[in-house]
Symmetry: C3
Subunit: 300 residues, 3 copies
């Protein structure tokens, strides 16, 4: 296996350019007919929080969650809270059967120079997001059109299916060790469940970031498509998944994922305490600072 | 990974045309010498139940189990009972070291419009078959020369090695969700043990049926050969396995499989109750009816 | 998957020809610049036990452990004891961050015709070696330039990364069943963690020895290089691993491996008793004798 060692941003910036409104345009794919019901503006209801755009198509039962204002968006505490609330609303909406996620990031600033209380709150929100997403009874598809290090990769891994843009600039991976921090056991479990134990061990020890082709080879993502086809392909894939009877798919999904979800549920408090005592150490804060400074130097 | 979505019969019909008698004919393979002892009619003892033909070659210690009368054969309650008895007899026969299985099906009719008592008995028989096959101390090889959805796939997965015919019409997979039903945890465990967690999750959620090349790529089967070589290749493969000292192979097999077998042994009753209460629901019975009607419309 | 059935020596003889002193010579690789600090003689401290040469480069924190006198070296009780002591010393040496292992063997003679006491001591030493190596907080890389059956394969699997020489004569695998003996659960766990459950089951039941290309395909090793590049590539790879902050990598490694290590720690005594009562059986001793005689006949 090859890897590329990278010091890319510990945030994902799945491109938000592709919006639901565009799906009609891109839904033809290589001459094929538009298979999913065409999405007309009047069929959609859009709910707009301060950080997430939720576009719900009532005719298909598919919602698209998009970050609203790149590049400042990130997996901050506020974002995570809004995300979990949005997902819960969709989960309770019986009309919603599937969710396509685009453009997520994890904000390193939520862990740097913050009080233990803030770090604890932040980590609880990361847990909450993962518990809701990995345990969701809805079909969840990640439309990855941007780099997805750390938390962004976790969110993609928590979905049912991952479609990534064939863009040589994008990378994906749980690169925590490169920052001197550690992916906790439930990040690890999610990765092991996706790529197997050995690839996970190598990936986590070295904090590997994978190019799109390497991510496909390793099993980190399921499909590569040209960047402008990511959202339309996500929508077509969703249509295939929607053909499966919901109750049977949901019981099956729960059977596969419940043991992993239960492990975190059984130790949320210790996991938070562990994170807080680790991240507030001087040496770790220094690691984060060094990492951020390296990023800044690269930007000009 | 690619898959083909299919609504094929939830039965396997591994072709029964290839019989043990033909092995002598096909045992030369690509110009190689016939390595296994040639199987002469007088060396075989055939025991014939009403549904299964057991042909035992005393000179090699290899038995071949074949369904007798396609296309009506299926994994019915009667078949399963006869199968478990046949396998137990072979298990107790110290002369028998390996079994080649061909042509199995799982009968959807055993679950449709039946009493809870019948469904419970049927499910207990499916458990029994799997416990005996997955936990068998003999070498077990599946010679797959027909489509193997659901129960047929399970039986193949419970063997030590799977050889499939390169026939574009054949598919294999645990496609339960497509019928609106759910593969239970021990089907799932068997699949995870074979193809890993991620491929199993995708496969089970979508009820995927794989073509022979996709089945090979995913690891659902171990080898593809032309259809008329399936049984002879199974026999040659058996010869390689027989070269390993039995006691060492048996302890090793048990070490690998016992935890999975024990999981079902620890909860046979709840698993039966769970199946019965699920399968007798009106909504599930309706799903099965819809599925059978779709099959009928396809047939003419 | 293909395999080659083999009766090769149940010992590994990773070639010891490549020594640390040569690293400087081979560190240029395909025209690339020498990335790791060049290893000058005065930077190294060599400690020489009777069976293992430990060469420590204080400027890089990399130690190379080499068997001193092939072909008589083997994983004997004496060797194992010396190995565990050497590894413990390096583990306690804060200057040492990574270890490259070359040339190990497991000695079948330690199990043949020996008293139960000796067999028990030997097995305890094998456990000790594995516990220290698989659980090491240092970076461990196997430089495999020779065949590695059984114990030699186990040692390679216990490292973080495996680089194997592209030599058609070399094979690697846990081939215990071919000798009529059984790899214990912690050999099995180590293999499953590396290649997954299915490949491990097939591999262990048949006692498969893999050629270098097959070993790469199965995931038994991570990289193939020409034989004269094995040590230099190991050194370059080590440099990449050393770039990851130690504390984060160590916690991550421990998270991945601790459950597997703990399983053996919880049952060392029963595992030793199990081994001794098995290996001292007449039938097993006979299997070993047959195997050794077959090897002798091959040697002319």
């Amino acid at each position: 296996m090859e890897w590329k060692s990278s010091t890319a941003l510990w945030r994902s910036n799945w491109n938000t350019a592709g919006r639901l409104a565009r799906l009609g345009v891109h839904s033809r794919h290589g001459g094929l007919q538009c298979l999913q019901p065409c999405l007309l503006p009047h069929q959609r209801s859009a709910s707009t929080g301060s950080k997430i755009l939720v576009e719900m198509d009532n005719s298909t039962g598919i919602a698209v969650l998009t970050m609203k204002s790149p590049p400042v968006n990130s997996l901050s505490l506020d974002f995570l809270t809004e995300f979990s609330i949005s997902l819960e609303k969709l989960e309770l909406d019986r009309g919603c059967r599937g969710v396509i996620l685009t453009s997520v990031r994890l904000d390193i600033m939520e862990m740097y120079g913050k009080s233990p209380e803030h770090c604890g709150e932040f980590w609880k929100a990361v847990q909450e997001m993962w518990l809701r997403l990995y345990g969701s009874s809805m079909i969840t598809i990640a439309a990855i059109n941007g780099s997805s290090p750390a938390g962004g990769c976790l969110m993609a891994l928590a979905c049912d299916y991952r479609i990534m843009a064939e863009n040589p600039k994008y990378s994906i991976g749980l690169n925590e060790t490169q920052l001197g921090i550690v992916a906790p056991f439930w990040f690890k479990d999610t990765l092991v469940n996706t790529v197997g134990n050995r690839a996970a061990e190598l990936s986590l020890q070295l904090g590997l970031l994978y190019s799109a082709p390497d991510a496909l080879r390793t099993g980190l993502v399921d499909l590569l498509v040209p960047e402008d086809k990511v959202l339309s392909t996500a929508s077509q894939t969703m249509t295939q998944w929607l053909a499966i009877p919901d109750h049977a798919r949901q019981i099956t999904k729960s059977m596969m994922r419940k043991p992993t979800v239960d492990r975190l549920l059984a130790s949320r408090e210790p996991d938070i305490n562990n994170f807080v005592s680790f991240i507030t150490k001087d040496s770790i804060q220094k690691s984060l600072r060094v990492y951020m400074e390296r990023l800044k130097q690269r930007k000009p």
